[in-house]
């Protein structure tokens, strides 16, 4: 059997291909983005054709994959945990109606959180929707669980969730590779309106069937927790772990010299928790510690006040269960002699910044300088980093910038006084994801604000997946481009300009013109598409052509370029006592040339590279 070192997400993607899955849909988001990319890679490598798509958002992705399952084929949808919020409408009902072909829902959680607006626990969502959820403790196990999930889904005709966390998605491990199942089933949708179009009258019946399925799942021996037994050193005591917290607990027990000295249960299916386990574990032990991420899903099902865990606060109620936290919990739970406190970081690390040459920086700088008293609702993507430039005041969830801009306008406008300039910023991919309904709503409700669509022609934050505007699919096939300007016009917007924010003067003039439109009789929402390709994608084209920039003797060391522009290519030269431009990092975008009040930044003598 061949083995290959795979990222957890690649292992999941490989598992999906090996299971003969026919349709896979997703919307990119950390930590889930690499799953669909791996499906594409392995589908090509194994010659197993799959319909893959970067859908416009998670709700649409869910509905596309779900209908494919209705035809009897295997289908999967993958997303990050907050993506499931967007997909929650079809998700909830799919539990009631069930599925035909195996249907896998991958919702990747981000305890910590590292790259998310919440650290919510998708296992609670599974419990809320009443669908089973599998919680892998390693990339290898994640792949095994994909196989189990498809089998369970078909056997019980129910969607099955796989819930990896960041530390599984972005862990690497050698994983066995198998040949994909050659699945010959043809699409056949069997009409059954009482099920697939169930009216409220039929829903109660479907709910009863769902409850029965869950009872059978809870009694299914294949899904019961497994035990690494102790040797009796700690009688009547056990630890119950799931996910990567279980894996880290094994390592920490070894560090403490306690491997094999205490009963350690692994829960692979946190919901529904095996009935026999629930009934037997409580009388069998006096002391139980539950270690799980991120909310107390297992702990609540054991519903026993004697249990130590997130609920009892022996385990912190929030955050990732890193080895050092698990260690301090075990010391308390087992009554061990506390060792010296673990060494800690003595400095915070560097914060993230927009890349040198990023078009968003030019747009944000112009917005803040033009409207120093403006209100700036922002959105989700690289451009959330506009907060470093003081040009992002809110960040909530995908598409919220536009809805919030309208809300700010209505709240200020009803006071009858002059309303502040409101500038919402949203990226191109996020605009397609959920900005369009909010824009239509804002226009229809008479809101007045400026919307700057930061169009870098890609989904940059998550690794450059295509947007609907690009005219190509996930697999690189040509498709009908859907232009942002067409969507803006169709939403009823009458003020629309499109320009490159690198042209700072023109962009600033355009912002002022947009503000006048918001304030004139009959005015409304003004939209500016700030269009500049992502420098990470265009770096190759830039190298060797642009000329370097340098700082001249005219510099007054006012630090404005350093402090207000947040550009990683500008540092401080202690010897010369003025800013220095990093020749490797600088892309010669020229925004600092415009920003410098004494014009002391000029093109340098040599070309880069």
């Amino acid at each position: 059997m061949t083995r290959r070192v795979l990222l957890g997400n690649e292992a999941i993607g490989r598992g999906i291909v090996e299971c003969g899955c026919a349709v896979v849909a997703s919307y990119p988001g950390t930590p889930a983005s690499e799953i669909l990319e791996a499906v594409l890679t392995f589908s090509g490598e194994t010659g197993h054709p799959i319909h893959t798509e970067w859908s416009v958002n998670e709700k649409v992705a869910y509905e596309v994959a779900l209908a494919a399952s209705y035809t009897g084929k295997r289908a999967a949808v993958s997303m990050k945990q907050v993506g499931l919020n967007a997909a929650s409408d079809p998700f909830m009902r799919s539990a009631y109606l069930g599925v035909k072909g195996g249907f896998l829902v991958v919702s990747a959680d981000d305890p910590g959180p590292h790259s998310s607006q919440t650290e919510q626990d998708s296992r609670f969502y599974a419990m809320f929707a009443k669908i089973p959820v599998l919680d892998p403790s390693s990339p290898r196990e994640a792949k095994e669980m994909v196989v189990l999930a498809f089998a369970l889904s078909e056997e019980y005709e129910i969607p099955v969730m796989l819930r990896p966390t960041t530390r599984i998605c972005h862990a690497r491990q050698a994983v066995p590779l198998l040949e994909p199942i050659r699945d010959a089933r043809a699409a056949r949708f069997e009409k059954d309106p009482r099920r697939w179009a169930a009216t409220p009258g039929a829903v109660l019946h479907l709910h009863r069937r769902l409850t029965e399925k869950l009872a059978r799942l809870a009694a299914d021996d294949r899904l019961a927790p497994t035990l690494v037994p102790g040797d009796g050193t700690y009688p009547h005591t056990c630890i119950i772990g799931s996910g990567v917290a279980f894996a880290h607990t094994r390592d920490v027990l070894e560090e403490l010299g306690l491997s094999g000295k205490i009963d350690l249960h692994q829960v692979r299916v946190p919901y529904p928790l095996a009935t026999t386990f629930v009934n037997e574990v409580r009388p069998a032990y006096e002391h139980i510690l539950v270690l799980e991420e991120t909310y107390p899903v297992i702990e609540m099902q054991l519903a026993d006040r004697m249990i130590a865990g997130r609920g009892s606060r022996l385990v912190p109620a929030e955050g990732e269960l890193t080895p050092e936290i698990i260690r301090s919990v075990l010391v308390k739970f087992l009554g061990l002699t506390p060792t010296a406190p673990a060494a800690v970081s003595t400095q915070p690390g560097a914060r993230p910044t927009l890349c040198a040459g990023c078009g968003h920086r030019a747009a944000f700088y112009a917005i803040r300088e033009t409207f120093p008293r403006g209100i700036f609702p922002g959105d989700i993507g690289c451009y959330t980093l506009g907060v470093n430039l003081g040009a992002v005041d809110t960040c909530h969830c995908m598409g919220a910038s536009i809805g919030q801009a309208a809300g700010f306008y209505h709240a200020y406008a009803q006071d009858g006084t002059d309303f502040p300039t409101i500038v919402a910023t949203i990226g191109d991919s996020t605009f397609f994801h959920s900005g369009i309904p909010a824009l239509m709503n804002a226009v229809a409700q008479g809101a007045r604000f400026i919307l700057v669509i930061l169009d870098n022609h890609t989904t940059a934050m998550t690794g450059h997946q295509p947007t609907p505007a690009l005219g190509r699919t996930a697999s690189g096939q040509p498709s009908q481009p859907i232009l942002i300007r067409d969507m803006v016009r169709a939403s009823g917007v009458t003020f629309l300009r499109e320009l490159d924010p690198y042209d700072m003067e023109a962009f600033t003039t355009c912002l002022k013109e947009a503000d006048r439109h918001c304030r004139r009789a009959g005015g409304g929402v003004a939209v500016i598409i700030a269009s500049h390709p992502c420098v990470l994608q265009d770096k190759a084209a830039l190298a060797g052509t642009a000329r370097t920039l340098c700082v001249t003797e005219d510099c007054t060391a006012c630090r404005l370029c350093l402090d207000d522009l947040d550009c990683p290519a500008i540092g401080w030269d202690e010897e010369a006592d003025r800013p220095r431009i990093d020749r490797v990092a600088c892309t010669s975008c020229g925004v600092c040339v415009y920003v410098c009040p004494v014009r002391a930044i000029v093109p340098g003598p040599g070309s880069r590279a």
Binding site: R167, A247, H248, S345
Partner: protein
């Protein structure tokens, strides 16, 4: 063989590439391997940390004070991530005159080798050449070949070899 390695740098410096190379090299040498790496917002220039655990481990993260080896692509990250090292652990640092650490100007080595973006590989070459890692330079060269795209292979190998040479 059991070795816990942390790789610390700034997003964009090639921490992920080093993580992949170490993972491939360990697997090729027949060791169990599990790693953890940072994706998403942190890749935009923030301090990032990867962990590599070679041997019979289960979880991907390293406890503070447990790493045998640290590869620091940015000297300013020492106070940020240095606490993961064991008291007897070795830090290989991209920098000059780092008291108590194995320091090498990997950025200058990479530039001199004609590949200014490959300081990560120069530091890896230095650490491997010093015998500080679970395998020697030859094993890592193979891993570099398997991980790097054709366009970057020449530059990466040149920087790696410059690092090995500087270690002798």
């Amino acid at each position: 063989m059991r070795q816990r390695i942390l790789i610390s740098g700034r997003g964009g410096q090639g921490v992920l590439t080093l993580t992949r190379i170490l993972a491939e090299a360990a697997a090729a040498a027949g060791h169990e391997i599990i790693t953890s790496e940072a994706h998403g917002m942190a890749q935009r220039g923030a301090a990032v940390l990867s962990t590599v655990k070679v041997g019979a481990f289960h979880g991907p993260l390293i406890s503070p004070g447990e790493a045998e080896v640290g590869l620091f692509l940015h000297a300013a990250n020492l106070p940020v991530h240095g606490h993961y090292l064991r008291p007897d652990g070795t830090a290989f640092v991209n920098g000059m005159d780092m008291a108590g650490h194995a320091a090498v100007d990997a950025t200058a080595l990479a530039s001199a080798s004609g590949s200014p973006g490959s300081a990560n590989l120069a530091l890896l070459g230095y650490a491997a050449g010093k015998g500080g890692l679970f395998a020697g330079p030859a094993c890592f060269e193979d891993a570099i070949r398997s991980v790097t795209s054709a366009r970057h292979l020449g530059g990466n190998l040149a920087a790696f070899r410059a690092g090995v040479e500087a270690s002798q």
